[in-house]
């Protein structure tokens, strides 16, 4: 008897959810970019939107800012990550750094950016620490440190968030390539640690983290929330300008925004091409050095630099979050005092209603998106297992695609499309948009543990008469409880941190902790920023604490499941 099996649905559905909004969004961007926007009474095709865009005096600087800050941040992040790994991987100091940095991975970008702002602003902690005894300042200096026109603080904020991400991705890759023996072998041939790493290990690690690196590159070029908080404002980066135009009450600006979104996409495609070229060039230079056999013994300074940078990043993240805490409970606080005169719960009380509403909305959206995402992801993994399918490299690209295509290139189009179709923007489309970004991370998080599970357990269960579904529900999923919960926590953190999908697809009417926090950036109410930033951080971190605590509680009498 052939029974109907619902499983083949999952891969199809997943591909639809991943690519549907992407394709629809790009289509919705192309139409208005070429002058077709019935909702505004415009029918194309014409090039007026592009003319208007290039007549805008800020276009040159905006493009330059996006390109330079994005590429510099990506290069710096990869360089710092490599330096830390090259100098320290496998040592005690490295495990310390790893433990310091990994909790920060899930801290939302906006909260981390606010933390950095509180640290480096003219009235921030660093200036207070050295005032007035060293600097002579008795009030905050009139310096443009935040939102500086070159985007330096923007770059710092992006690097700070990207290094932990690339570091953890690289650590996972290191396990697959026998890094420690490669290192021992190269060192026994006389190579210094850093040279050994760069020539013998980095190429293999890089091949495995290439997609995450591309995610970092395109994200840096097009990020909006961090750029609103730390980036320059007149003109801002191209992506921030796109969002400004999209939020303009005059609907005609959507045409210009769409044209700019296509320019943004072209910039990213160009930068990725440039990046590939850089890879080739670097590989050729490395080969030339290997041919010459340079050993690079004197790497003490470089190693120290790697450690210092890693420590600085962890400290900046940690003290930044502490800054959010102090501001949220600060009473009267004058410059250059290191701490406020008194602590008070006033800010928390004042924002209680607003922040609780936003928390509810955030939790609801995350819960639905992650629940649907987990269903699809586990369904896909199980289907692949039963049908003996393997995720090819092309499949991997597909999963990463929503993370690589800049959000500002297709989310505006999604909004415009809803507008043209006369659909109301609300929670459901926002959940769908979140799902596009949650799904890849769920898959990446579950892939390893799922494949590492000993399938002989399934064979044993089947031999005892268990059906495949019974094996899934009663053997595999319970055994994988810890990684399943971790994946859920990752998914929630991703959803909590989403700014642009919530803002654009929600039509500005869906208010989550992240949209509220970023909206506060221009106002400068630091106490409110502290409250919302902390709530946002907690919403992302608490699920991780649960994901650690629950398996330990549930399996407290099952030692075999606790160490895995």
């Amino acid at each position: 008897m052939v029974r109907f099996s619902p499983l083949p649905l999952f891969p199809t559905l997943t591909v639809l959810v991943l690519l549907g909004p992407l394709a629809a969004g790009l289509w919705g961007t192309i139409l208005p970019a070429f002058g077709h926007l019935p909702a505004a009474g415009e029918t194309g095709p014409n090039l007026e939107a592009f003319h208007a865009l290039f007549d805008w005096p800020g276009i040159g600087p905006a493009i330059r800012l996006s390109l330079v800050t994005g590429i510099v941040a990506a290069v710096l992040s990869l360089a710092i990550t490599s330096l830390i790994l090259a100098g320290w991987a496998g040592t005690r100091g490295f495990r310390l750094l790893e433990r310091l940095l990994s909790p920060f991975l899930s801290v939302p970008h906006a909260a981390a950016a606010f933390g950095l702002a509180f640290l480096i602003a003219p009235s921030g902690w660093i200036a207070r620490l050295f005032s007035p005894w060293l600097t002579g300042w008795d009030r905050p200096p009139d310096l443009l440190i935040l939102n500086d026109p070159w985007g330096l603080s923007l770059i710092a904020g992006m690097v700070m968030k990207e290094v932990p991400f690339l570091l953890l991705m690289s650590i996972a890759a290191l396990g697959q390539i026998d890094g420690s023996r490669r290192m021992a072998l190269s060192q026994s041939m006389g190579y210094g640690r850093i040279s050994a790493w760069m020539f013998a290990i980095f190429p293999a690690v890089y091949a495995r983290i290439r997609l995450p690196v591309l995610v970092v590159l395109t994200w840096s070029m097009s990020v909006v929330d961090v750029a609103v908080i730390l980036g320059p404002s007149t003109p801002p980066t191209l992506s921030v300008q796109i969002v400004r135009w999209m939020s303009d009450p005059d609907i005609a600006f959507r045409l210009q925004a769409a044209a700019a979104a296509l320019v943004q996409l072209a910039l990213v495609v160009g930068a990725v091409g440039l990046w590939f070229l850089g890879e080739k060039l670097l590989a050729r230079m490395a080969c030339a050095r290997i041919e010459a056999g340079h050993r690079g013994h004197n790497d003490r300074t470089l190693r120290a630099m790697g450690f210092a940078l890693g420590t600085a990043i962890s400290l900046a993240l940690l003290i930044g979050l502490l800054g959010l805490v102090v501001w949220s409970i600060a009473g009267f606080w004058t410059f250059p005092d290191l701490l406020p005169d008194q602590f008070t719960a006033r800010s928390w009380i004042r924002h209680r209603a607003g922040s609780l509403d936003a928390l509810g909305e955030t939790a609801l959206i995350a819960a639905i998106a992650v629940a649907v995402g987990m269903l699809l992801t586990v369904g896909c993994l199980e289907t692949e297992e039963r049908r003996n399918l393997r995720l090819t490299e092309r499949g991997m690209w597909l999963i990463y695609l929503p993370l690589i295509v800049p959000q500002t290139a297709f989310l505006p189009g999604l909004q415009t499309l809803f507008l043209n179709l006369g659909l109301d923007m609300g929670r459901a489309p926002v959940v769908l948009a979140h799902l596009v970004f949650v799904l890849p991370y769920l898959r990446l998080s579950l892939e390893g543990p799922w494949k590492a599970w000993d399938t002989r357990q399934a064979t044993v269960a089947a031999a005892l008469g268990a059906s495949p579904n019974c094996v899934l529900w009663r053997v595999r999923l319970p055994m994988l409880l810890a990684p399943l919960l971790t994946a859920i926590a990752v998914g929630v953190a991703v959803s909590v941190g989403q700014y642009l999908p919530t803002l654009l697809v929600g039509g500005g009417r869906i208010e989550t902790l992240t949209t509220e926090a970023v909206a506060l950036a221009s106002g400068g109410d630091r106490r409110a920023i502290g409250v919302f930033g902390l709530m946002q951080t907690a919403a992302a971190l608490v699920p991780f604490a649960l994901a650690l605590a629950l398996p330990a509680l549930i399996w407290r009498n099952r030692k075999g499941l606790l160490n895995g």
């Binding site: 420690s180 021992a184 060192q187 026994s188 041939m189 006389g190 190579y191 293999a204 080969c287 013994h297």
Partner: protein, 210 residues
């Protein structure tokens, strides 16, 4: 006593438990075999000698190579070569570039190329310089790994079960080749194995651990 590898009262402990104590001397051209079941810490001893012992281990005593105390030196200044069970050829480099990676620095480009070609010819792999290591057989890979290590001009050679991945016939050939090259260069050799045939072929003293 100055020449050769001298393990002077070397003791390795892990969290207070003693794993290995050894006090011995390997003269140039001699092969000392260390035998014992897996888990007695044979590989740990090798890590201590090349200088990559993990922080959680403590090592006392002195490791002296040709009169030079290696104990305080970082791994890259010890001049001790090692061969593992897997050839560990770098998959991103051609066979020739793998050898170039090993070849001690210095010399003009053409000179370096010649040295690499000679090394390949020495082990019967003429013209293999441009090959992808992944296309080599197990025996060929082992030979390239040996030459890569020897080109870096080590002063001693450690062998961490380097023949166990090979089938019986190949095993004998590769083993003879390694010993022959080590003797020709008068290297003190320390062989770690759990195979009695390896120990016999080595023809040197045997220490049993565990």
């Amino acid at each position: 006593m100055a020449d050769g590898l001298h393990l002077d009262k070397v003791a390795i402990t892990h969290g207070g438990t003693q794993l290995i104590t050894i006090d011995t001397h390997v003269t140039p051209g001699e092969v000392l075999t260390i035998m014992g079941p897996s888990g007695v810490g044979k590989s740990t001893l090798l890590s201590a000698i090349i200088g990559t012992l993990a922080d959680s281990f403590d090592c006392s005593g002195h490791i002296i190579l040709n009169g030079r105390d290696l104990t305080p030196l970082p791994p890259d200044e010890r001049c001790v070569g090692i061969l593992f069970q897997d050839a560990l050829l770098f998959p991103h480099l051609s066979v020739g570039a793998n050898l170039a990676f090993g070849l001690a620095p210095g010399g003009a480009r053409a000179e370096r190329r010649t040295k690499i070609d000679t090394a390949l010819a020495e082990v019967g792999l003429e013209g293999f310089a441009d090959r992808d290591p992944a296309t080599l057989s197990g025996g060929q890979r082992a030979r390239v790994a040996l030459m890569r290590m020897l080109l870096s001009e080590p002063h001693a050679l450690l062998l961490d079960e380097p023949f166990s991945g090979l089938d019986a016939e190949l095993r004998g050939q590769v083993r003879d080749l390694v010993f022959e090259h080590a003797r020709a260069r008068a290297l003190p050799v320390l062989l770690v194995t759990h195979d009695r045939d390896d120990a016999e072929a080595a023809g040197g003293p045997v220490i049993n651990l565990g």
